[in-house]
Amino acid sequence: MSDIENIIRNCQKGQRKAQKELYEQFAPKMMGVCLYYTSDRHEAEDVLHEGFMRAFQKINQLREPKAFNGWLRRIFVHCAIEKHRQKRWTYDVNDSYAYDERLSYEDISGKIEEAELLQLVHELPPQYRLVFNLYAIEGFKHREIAEKLGISAGTSKSNLARARNILQQKVIARYGLNKQHGSI
């Protein structure tokens, strides 16, 4: 049995020491997830706290310790979704973001640091950011996103498209990248 499996088993027994070990091992990664889904660090810390509370509460339901990574990430994503739904952000949609210039992966890969990517995501309106994250990073379908956010699948598609356009615009504007290579 691997260390992490052992830690998980002990967490299922409610051992505080094992919970601490689990937290120290996974908190940085989950903090990264929280930052992607929230507007600022303060809110991310709230989701981190709530996510671990929920994880320790439900860890007895985890049957396969090998699936722990995905299971834990899902918990944090759902906590972030709940946070978003509680706040019910409203915002103006600016259609001027519509942008038809395209980038190739080679253009941008390796030129933008992870922290800068996070900054770009943070500049998205909250719901665009959430839809984009759920679709592009987590791999949810529009139907699933619609159910989770309480919106229609059409709205989910529309938000995703606008999020992509905004990100593209910002990447080009910030890093001086141009449409190249005829990649589209």
Binding site: R16, Q19, K20, Y23, E24, A27, P28, K29, M30, M31, G32, V33, L35, Y36, S39, H42, E43, A44, E45, D46, L48, H49, F52, M53, F56, Q57, E82, Q86, K87, R88, W89, T90, Y91, R102, L103, S104, Y105, I108, S109, I112, E114, L117, L118, V121, F132, N133, Y135, A136, I137, R164, L167, Q168, V171, S183, I184
Partner: protein
């Protein structure tokens, strides 16, 4: 999929997958404290449920049990003199129904005594009666010097029909003889038996005079005067019974009542944090001080009093729970803050502030786009229709009674409001999100009753209400309140 879409998605997916950030330095400490709190709450919740259940079972079970009992089983009837039984008789007929055969057949017809009535005595009497029926020879344990003939006569009587040995009417032999004559069925044996019995009694009387039989004057215990008709007639002919006051009052009865009074509802909260809806704004603030919400409760109830002590009540009422969060609310916003949406998070759930609420605050200057603002409190109100089911045990007699009350209530939420309060001015700004529409609460307290003038009574009820579950669907928020209600009731 559009290749461009794929590229931008891929870029961010790869960037996010391995992205890590330092958690807060006090993250684990806060988490451990939260886990401890949750553990305590869980234990406390089950303790609460167990206590409430035990209380209800005890109260209702006790009330039901006592309701089945006679109002007063200890009448404390004094010892009474009984008219002396002058003679013993035996009656035998073709269908014998009465046989006189008591211990006193061999004893002196002296003054008998009626002992206090109680259930135990009654059982003893019944047992004695049964023994007499089954084992008639027991009656032959007479300390007298009865002759063989007398015993034989006695046996004949028993074999014929020995029924109510100890319940023999105290009638004279002559009366019995007359009765037997009327029936026209007295046999020679029965006459002989009566004669023998008379002889027996006369012998006993003679022996008593000589002090040969009893050193002490024997007494006859009539155990159950209510069951033994003949003795009852004699025993109570001169008895004046005076029932205690309380046996004649407080029969089972219905009454209706109306009570109302102030309550103080509170729940110590965690920090309440507000954030602007517009990312450009920044007016985060938090508060740690919480105060009770002053409110009130009312109830229109029906009460069923099953005896002097136990009352069961139900009805319909109103109660407001709430909390004041942010007694030192201070808001500071930079000039760039132009947001018109405010959201908050409290221990009772997420606070949704409506645009109308915010606009009202802007108009009155409670929210400004720059500068600071102090001393605004946030109040959260939750209004419920309450349907209680309670039981009360009352102590004391007379017009004034004190009781202990406990029960459970179902609560249906119909009001949910968040207000910003400055002094006495309250401005509604929104609602608390994710609250339950139905909630169970436990009720407990005292009841002070004073009968003003029958059938009207006045009552004062100091009461505690405590939620048996969280009001919030997402947070652990158990509301409770302390209050005093006063009212009147009318006995139907």
């Amino acid at each position: 999929m559009d290749p461009f879409d794929h590229n931008i998605d891929r870029l961010f997916k790869e960037g996010a997958t391995d992205f890590q950030a330092a958690p807060p330095s006090t993250g684990w400490d806060g988490l451990a404290a939260g886990l401890d709190r949750r553990q305590k709450r869980k234990k406390f919740f089950w303790l609460q449920m167990a206590a409430a259940f035990a209380l209800l079972v005890t109260a209702f079970g006790g009330g039901y049990y006592l309701g089945q009992q006679p109002e007063n089983t200890d009448l404390n009837i004094p010892i009474l003199p009984v008219t002396p039984v002058e003679t013993q008789s035996k009656i035998q007929s073709n269908e014998p129904s009465i046989t006189s055969e008591t211990e006193s057949s061999a004893s002196d017809p002296v003054e008998s005594v009626v002992k206090p009535r109680n259930a135990e005595r009654t059982r003893e009497s019944q047992a004695s009666k049964n023994n007499s029926r089954i084992e008639p020879n027991n009656t032959a344990e007479t300390p007298s010097s009865a002759s063989t003939t007398q015993n034989q006569n006695r046996d004949v009587v028993h074999e014929a029909a020995a029924i109510t040995a100890s319940s023999t009417p105290a009638k004279s032999t002559e009366t019995n003889q007359a009765h037997s004559s009327e029936m026209g069925s007295a046999s020679t044996e029965s006459i002989a038996s009566i004669d023998a019995n008379r002889s027996d009694i006369e012998d006993n009387a003679l022996n008593k005079e000589q002090g040969a039989i009893h050193d002490e004057e024997p007494t006859q215990e009539i155990a159950s005067p209510f069951l033994q008709e003949a003795e009852t007639v004699d025993a109570f002919s001169n008895y004046e019974y005076s029932a205690p006051d309380d046996i004649l009052v407080t029969p089972a009865a219905w009454s209706i009542g109306l009570t109302a009074g102030p309550t103080s509802s509170f729940r110590v909260t965690e920090d309440v944090i507000y954030q602007p809806g517009n990312p450009n704004g920044s007016f985060n603030y938090s508060t740690e001080q919480d105060r009770p919400i002053q409110s009130w409760a009312a109830n229109l109830g029906a009460h069923y009093q099953i005896n002097r002590h136990w009352v069961f009540s139900s009805g319909i009422g109103y109660v407001r729970y709430g909390q004041e969060a942010g007694s030192e609310f201070t808001y500071t916003a930079p000039s760039s803050a132009t947001g018109n949406v405010v959201s908050g998070q409290s221990s009772a759930g997420s606070i949704e502030v409506t645009d109308e609420g915010v606009n009202a605050l802007i108009e009155e200057g409670s929210i400004v786009t720059s500068g600071s603002l102090g001393q605004i409190s946030t109040h959260q109100y939750f209004d419920f229709i309450e349907v209680p089911l309670t039981t009360t045990y009352l102590f004391g007699r007379g017009p004034f009674q004190v009781g202990i009350e406990a029960g459970i209530a179902g609560n249906f939420q119909f009001g949910n409001k968040v207000v910003f309060a400055e002094g006495n001015t309250e401005t509604a700004v929104g609602t608390t999100a994710n609250t339950k529409s139905f909630l169970f609460t436990a009720l407990g307290g005292l009841r002070l009753n004073y009968n003003l003038k029958s059938p009207i009574a006045f009552s004062i009820t100091p009461q505690i209400r405590y939620g048996l579950e969280s009001l919030s669907q997402t947070e652990n928020f158990t509301p409770y309140s302390i209050g005093v209600q006063a009212g009147i009731s009318y006995r139907l």
